[in-house]
């Protein structure tokens, strides 16, 4: 057990940029593959086309976020003006890192400022920081852009943990019923009875504080509701005639689950993923504020406002940039989620008629 904890808490492997990059690129590749298969299927093509027609602007803005995350996930070692810093020379830097190469100042400076905010020492690059710089002198626009990758990493990694888990147990419990269902239902009611945020904090404190353990904790607390949905839907599908027909034709349980029940749950997977994503970004912001979030997230930038807004004169650009970034992303995701739900599943989840 202790070994498991050490493995999970070990920051080495999971904190490396390559691991995060692999997750982000993997999620995007998965989305691309899913999109390819959807385009071949008439029903999905029509449904997604309808969502796109209804939410052109949201899809476009979301696309920009995804491109930024992608640009920050493609990284390699060397090149550029790396000679200045021996440590930096051995670190993989992404396209975004290279674009903002050498923009770091000494401390705070206002948007498009010419001098440091408090010291009044002239900046190395006056009027170059569109959104100013933060306490470490990092360009705020740069940090905000980098936040897109972190948000996608949190959402992607957590979904990769939570959704397969929920889908597997939901399918098995709903399809076989009996003892298996009893056990799965018991585990779900046990987890659901613990206050979400407290359970989240407890898990992170126990697993140690790293990107992976935050996602792990978010996964543990968020798979239950989707599992319950998948279980209920499977129970309904199990009773339908075509399942009985498949069984009469001699199809195995695995084949029925894979070929006849799972495809009928996929629309729920898509909707849950989108709804889950926005709740994860919100939860991460709360965790950041409590000091146990993910490094480099927008939540972290917002949390810095605790000091920055009580300074005199105040530092408003850091929190505003991150806040707007979160708000616009969540707005797009929520709008797309609503449209997806309307189009794909007006019945079981029918909100926003």
């Amino acid at each position: 057990m202790t070994k498991v904890a050490v493995l999970l808490a070990a920051p080495g492997l999971f904190e490396q940029a390559a691991f995060g990059n692999a997750i982000v690129l993997g999620v995007l590749a998965l989305a691309a593959v899913a999109g390819f298969y959807c385009a071949k299927n008439e029903i999905w093509r029509q449904a997604l086309g309808e969502v796109f027609r209804r939410r052109k602007l949201s899809v476009l803005v979301l696309g920009i976020y995804v491109l930024l995350a992608l640009a920050d996930s493609i990284s390699w070692v060397g090149g550029g003006e790396a000679g200045a810093d021996a440590v930096q020379a051995h670190e993989a830097r992404s396209l975004v890192d290279r674009w903002f190469e050498g923009t770091t100042e000494k401390s705070y400076s206002a948007p498009l400022g010419v001098a440091e905010f408090y010291d009044k020492t002239p900046l190395q690059r006056p009027r170059a920081h569109l959104l100013g710089t933060n306490i470490l002198g990092q360009d705020v626009l740069y940090m905000t852009v980098k936040g897109a990758r972190v948000a996608l990493l949190i959402g992607g990694l957590t979904s990769l943990i939570a959704i397969p888990l929920a889908l597997f147990f939901g399918l098995v419990a709903g399809y076989f019923g009996g003892r298996i269902d009893d056990i799965v239902f018991f585990v779900m009611s046990t987890l659901a009875s613990m206050p979400g945020i407290l359970l989240l904090i407890a898990l992170i404190m126990v697993l140690g504080q790293s990107t992976f353990s935050v996602c792990m904790a978010l996964g543990v607390t968020s798979w239950v509701s989707f599992c319950r949905l998948a279980r209920g839907e499977t129970m309904k599908l199990r009773e339908l005639d075509y399942v009985a027909a498949a069984r009469a034709l001699g199809a195995s349980h695995a084949a029925i689950l894979w070929r006849h029940i799972l495809p009928n749950l996929l629309h729920l997977v898509v909707i849950s993923f989108v709804l889950l994503f926005s709740s994860l970004v919100l939860a991460e912001a709360t965790l950041s504020w409590l000091g146990i979030g993910v490094r480099g997230s927008w939540g972290n930038m917002i949390a810095q406002a605790k000091d920055e807004l009580s300074r005199d004169p105040i530092i408003w650009w850091n929190v505003t940039a991150a806040g707007v970034a979160v708000f616009v992303l969540l707005l797009c995701v929520n709008r797309i989620g609503d449209a997806l739900r309307d189009v794909l599943d007006p019945r079981t989840l029918g909100e926003g008629r």
Partner: protein, 321 residues
Amino acid sequence: MLAYIVRRLAYGVLVVLGVLLFLFMLFFAITSPDDIARKSVGEKAPPRVIEQWKHVHGYDRPLWPGPDHMTDNLFVDHFRRMLTLDLGKSDADSVPIARRIREGAGPSLLLTVPMFALGLLLGIGVSLFVALFRESYIDRAGVLVSVLLMSIPMLLYIIFGQFLLSKVLRWFPLSGFDDDPVVVGRFLALPVLIAVASSLGSSVRFYRTVFVEEIYKDYVRTARAKGAGELHVLRDHVLRNALIPILTDVVMTIPFLFTGSLLLEAAFGIPGLGSMVVDAINANDFSTLRAMVFLGSLLFIVGQVLTDISYTIVDPRIRLE
């Protein structure tokens, strides 16, 4: 009926035991007492210091039951103490956790109860209004504003609300708490306002769905066919029937009123249970966190069992399922 109640109670007890088992795995098996000790006294502390810390905080016994220590181990001890509500002492400063919870519950409830009641009333009111104008511009605008409100993290509501309303406009005190009921109202006004604003979006959307779903049912058409006016239909038919799913949702949140609000309490300096948890995080106080998770689950499970039983008394159909 009696058989159902007994079965439901037994299942509730089973879930409590499940929660305790989960907490034991989390706080004793995955993080060993050595880990907890090291987090408190420092990573590089000599073994003697760690042993002493474990002794002082009662972690210096075997983890699992064994041949020569069937009852004197942490596993049995964890279950026995939690089930008798003996929550033990804080890992950080050795204050009894039960006393701290008694002290913190009052301020937490002072914040969460008004916030809950006001949020519920406003949510139902606004969503009824929106449902009255369903499929019109008012409805669409209402849904859009709800989504806008939902997309802002509560953190931003707190940061900007506190900054704008207390610091710039000076309408409210910045933060603090007082035992005087009149003074405390001034301190609690802003956190309550912020909580209501941040939860309004999602609650309006949820209640609106419930109302609109109810409006399209046959009995509503019958009522209209009899010549009832729109307001009369909404108030006497739709609202009454929609209250069932809304109540189910509301009852689920009541137990969590006790555990307070972490963000609000910490931001506004309210000495409730939420602040206690924030302090516990900063001090690596595992025993307080453990006790809070257990207490929250216990309240939730008790609430759920009571709701289920009262449902069967009100609506006999449920028992048959």
